[in-house]
Subunit: 320 residues, 2 copies
Amino acid sequence: MASEFELIRRHFTLPTRNTRLGVGDDAALLVPRPGMELVVTSDMLVSGTHFFADTDPVDLGWKTLAVNVSDIAAMGAEPRWAFLAIALPAADEAWIAGLAKGFAECAERFSIDLAGGDTTRGPLTLSVTLIGEVAAGRAVRRDGAKPGEDLWVTGTPGQATLGLAHLRGELALPADTAAICVAALHRPQPRVEAGLALNGIATAMLDVSDGLLGDLGHILERSGVGAEVELDCLPHALTGECAIAGDRMQDTTLRGGDDYELLFTAPTSQRGVITRLSGDLGLPFTRIGVISNDARVITLIDSQGTRTRTSALGYDHFRA
Amino acid sequence: MASEFELIRRHFTLPTRNTRLGVGDDAALLVPRPGMELVVTSDMLVSGTHFFADTDPVDLGWKTLAVNVSDIAAMGAEPRWAFLAIALPAADEAWIAGLAKGFAECAERFSIDLAGGDTTRGPLTLSVTLIGEVAAGRAVRRDGAKPGEDLWVTGTPGQATLGLAHLRGELALPADTAAICVAALHRPQPRVEAGLALNGIATAMLDVSDGLLGDLGHILERSGVGAEVELDCLPHALTGECAIAGDRMQDTTLRGGDDYELLFTAPTSQRGVITRLSGDLGLPFTRIGVISNDARVITLIDSQGTRTRTSALGYDHFRA
């Protein structure tokens, strides 16, 4: 019977297009394009902490790469080369083949080469390092937001949280809505095209993996500014017949994690450009507020004009 | 009490010199030097598989980075940027501070920036991705060995195995020899300077992490050649009064792992240059055999001229 090492080698040897030398030497050789800067992110996913041991391996393979792709997208950069280190308790070919299938689907979708990695025996752990490229000096960081700029978000944050609630039986959604929300949870779509299109337009950007308010706090912290959020402008994942109670919906949109939408700031002069981009990409871009001088303070404004101030720091935490 | 995430942030925020943007954004930003190719390696170390839970954390921090540095050295390249993902079961400030100290010492020794990473809760696992640079097209790969070339090794492979045997009480070494061997085990010195000096001289190279014969097999496999090893030429870690039985010594030198010396091939015309390099670096370079046409076959030749043929494939295995 094949060992887990042989199985990983068999299933994870994927075709590469932009790699001079992949698996099989001491290290991989990559040729960055002239004038480009490297954008690098690492994420470690541990069984029992980030996913359940019985998660569909195809979904897990997709998501393991996708969460890293989202970080590259949030810099306005293009993902290029992935490195995957795996610790596995035992050989299970069907499971490994599934993981490889999902990973390969995500790599193919975003033209990423799996250029190297490591396999070892141990408690199930997946660690990806993803290298992207962006024109030198053009990365969209978290520290560029300025007072008076608009605050925008892509898509409808909260979908993944609703998908999880549905799977747990805490919420009964119509089948088609449930399918969309569960897909957001298991097959997140990193906003690479949107991130690239926003490069040169957005002044600060990040992905909303930890919830909209929590991640907004990171922009405020790094940029030394505040934000006023118009609650009535929030794009909710559920509307019409399947809407849930207003407070719960709002909380899901503001605090739901695991969504991988982009949150960004841009000058008011760019509103027309951004609206056109939204149409071109077939992805909602919603203006949800403005950047203020009130450093590190998030002010929530409801439909009556009532203002609630909260500290951005309250939402600042390490991803756990 | 500080969480493991705060402790990691506190202790692993090291000064960077060659990184445009390090920890704190969605991804790190690195600026490769013009005309350079990237050399990338990943290693995952799992508690109980690669190290014991009671390993001195300072040594563990050093070795976690050093084993990756060795892979970059073996490509004749320069290590530049490290990414460290850690899964930790609980917060233990003394342990984390020790790990960070050893890691920082190795980073400082080789001028490496810790440019990013991830921290999560889980069974103790350390995953490093290290990015190096080499002039485009100049990396020393495993596939360039040609029949008639010399086979060389740096240092005295087997030291780490002897250090482990000493610690386990299987071998009694004099104190000074024991200290050297235990240091080879716990504080391996990647041969970065030697690797860079050999760039342009060595035709194939790798690091001997899995034992000399096993890793020689990788060169033979990738280059489609064979090798004849002169057993009398092997550089043994123990000589004189502390020598151990000849067979055991030879086996340790040929098969001992965890040493991180460089094994390389070079044309016979380079013998003088290599010998001078050895003197300049203060590191023994020993010519131990020649490359043959006998594809994938290692022939061991003893002092009586007796030849023993073995298949290189017998030693080809995944690092486990």
